[in-house]
């Protein structure tokens, strides 16, 4: 078998369990794919071949003893914002270019407990701030469907790696769309769990009230399997929820008859690409054919305020979180001065890239004396209104369906100098983080060979319903079976 890296978790797990495949073989196949294609795609900032092979051997031993969980022995790539003990964790920032965490994030501990295999760390927009992975402090990642285009962001490396089969699955993080938007742009499945569903301990903080870790996978079944492994309360993250965690495998049911789906027209924004609109319409028709009850007349008028709310709250939280990079405890440190303040200022000046500086400035402004009430407090109040609006909608619908992004992947360089245009590419995803809801992006079609995704939004802690709908849609279509061919 030469194409082992193309397997899904579900397929590989079965072969591992039946001893028809070893984790070492599977890991070697992924490593071979990495060395064959990553020069072109640039999805990874660190590849840890030795660690991966050692973990694969451990996994094979465990499997030999009959200890085999769904993720045992399955190789993954981890977004470089998630702390991995002994493996560099850079956030794709020069300021953390040599940072080696002394501990594992809780999600990593959980993966290690089931003897998963870590191939490497995925490129991202610096500190997860961006929508194209062009804000990486190292290099941009390319979209495997067209190397002249962006893979989306900020988890662009994770999405591209899964799309081109460098890894069987990946972990990403999502603060305003950073899992779902790149999943849509690369035609993979991406889930942002409910805020509090997955521990954030060891996730380098960007905007603490919005950040969530989630899976990027080749299909919906795999998505449920990864969520099963990482979800659950963690005493080390006081914002993680004590909610019971169901077996998400049970959601994988193709029968969606009678399920009530609302289509909020406010997400079909002005400037949306007409072909994407048509494609999402077709996807909605498919859900209707499958027996779901569709209401196309849902109105969520506060949607238009979400972008402003997000770009007040996220940078405000970021400006506080990123104050820690003072060059004293870890990371890059400007050494050419004896003055403490100058050292701190220059450390940040030379350590951070433009978008990170822009957001620190924005957040500092929104929190500063005289502006706090007008910006930050106001945004937090509108946040309450947005949450209420979703809550009302979910009294009538089991789920809401929207496009993941208004367009297909754009060209590298196209929006780098225009922050507002770049921010608009997350217009369909960021309201979900504001309300803390779970949402999944599933492949929903192509325009001239470029993919787009459909977003399914659920009630708080109801990942089951969105996985259920996503699974039914995936079973009825074959978008996720199409693979990019590198040009």
């Amino acid at each position: 078998m030469n194409d082992l890296h193309k397997l899904t978790i579900g397929q590989a797990h079965k072969l591992l369990k039946d001893k028809k495949l070893s984790s070492v073989e599977l890991t070697k196949s992924c490593l071979a794919q990495l060395s064959a294609v990553d020069k072109k795609v640039q999805a990874c900032v660190t590849i840890c071949e030795d660690v991966a092979l050692a973990q694969a051997k451990e996994a094979d031993k465990a499997i030999g003893k009959g200890e085999v969980q769904p993720l045992t022995g399955i190789p993954a790539i981890i977004k470089d914002v998630i702390c991995t003990s002994g493996i560099k964790t850079t956030c794709s920032s020069k300021i953390l270019a040599n940072f080696i965490p002394p501990y594992d994030a809780t999600v990593m501990k959980r993966l290690k407990q089931v003897k998963a295999v870590i191939l490497g760390k995925a490129n991202m927009d610096e500190f997860a701030m961006g929508s194209s992975t062009e804000n990486s402090g190292f290099f941009p990642t390319k979209n495997p469907w067209d190397l002249n285009r962006v893979p989306g962001g900020s988890s662009g490396g994770s999405a591209a790696a899964v799309a081109i089969d460098e890894a069987i699955y990946a972990l990403g993080s999502d603060t305003g769309g950073s899992i779902r938007q790149p999943a849509g742009f690369c035609s993979v499945v991406g889930l942002k769990p409910t805020y509090g569903r997955v521990s954030r301990f060891g996730l380098v903080a960007f905007a603490s009230s919005l950040d969530q870790i989630g899976p990027l996978t080749k299909d919906v079944t795999d998505c449920a399997l990864v969520l099963n492994a990482i979800a659950g309360h963690d005493p080390l993250d006081s914002t993680s929820a004590a909610q019971p965690v169901p077996d998400f495998n049970r959601s994988l049911n193709p029968d969606i008859k009678g399920m009530r789906i609302g289509i909020p027209k406010d997400y079909f924004v002005e400037g949306m690409q007409p072909e994407v609109r048509d494609g999402i319409d077709a996807a909605i028709n498919k859900l209707q054919e499958l027996g779901a009850k569709i209401d196309r007349n849902v109105s969520l008028p506060l949607t238009r305020y979400a972008l402003a709310v997000y770009y007040v709250i996220a940078p405000s939280e970021a400006s506080a979180n990123l104050a820690r990079y003072d060059g004293v405890k870890y990371g890059y440190s400007y050494k050419d001065t004896m003055n403490m303040w100058e050292a701190m200022e220059k450390t940040k000046q030379f350590g951070f890239g433009a978008e990170v500086k822009r957001r620190i400035m924005l957040g500092t402004y929104a929190l500063s004396a005289g502006y706090y009430d007008a910006y930050y407090l106001k945004a937090q109040k509108v946040r309450t209104l947005i949450i209420r609006e979703f809550k009302e909608a979910f009294e009538k619908y089991d789920a809401l369906v929207t496009p993941t992004s208004p367009t297909v992947p754009f060209k590298l360089g196209e929006k780098v100098d225009d922050p507002i245009q770049m921010y608009l590419s997350d217009v369909c995803t960021l309201p979900i983080n504001i309300a803390g809801l779970p949402a999944i992006s599933v492949p929903a079609g192509f325009v001239d060979g470029l993919p787009f995704g459909m977003q399914i939004i659920g009630k708080p802690f109801d990942e089951e319903t969105i996985l259920h709908l996503a699974y039914a849609y995936e079973q009825a279509t074959d978008w996720n079976k199409k693979k990019p061919i590198l040009n």
Binding site: R304, M361, Y375, I420
Partner: protein
């Protein structure tokens, strides 16, 4: 309303963020444009609306105050840009 150069410098000082001349001029325009987009929030009446800091409305979480092992000193200091013995080396705060 465009931010003045002085305002940009003041925000940078609050954030202890060094900026180049070029950055100051660029951010003056970009931040002004972004702030203009925030004006839309003023359209909404939020009298009597409580602010939301966090979406799942958790209360304070307490844990028993019991000693437990912490990260080994050597590991914590392994990333230190400058160290002296078992300490992070910093510049003089008072001169």
């Amino acid at each position: 309303m465009k931010l003045s150069r002085k305002e940009v410098e003041h925000i940078a000082l609050l954030a202890r963020l060094g900026l180049s001349e070029e950055d100051i001029e660029k951010f003056r325009h970009q931040l002004s444009d972004i702030l203009e987009n925030f004006e839309i929030l003023k359209q909404l009446d939020t009298t009597d609306v409580p602010p939301t800091a966090q979406s799942i409305a958790l209360q304070n979480i307490f844990r028993p105050d019991e000693p437990r092992p912490s990260c080994p000193v050597e590991e914590i200091l392994s990333n230190a840009p400058q160290r002296e013995g078992n300490s992070f080396k910093v510049r003089a705060v008072l001169e």
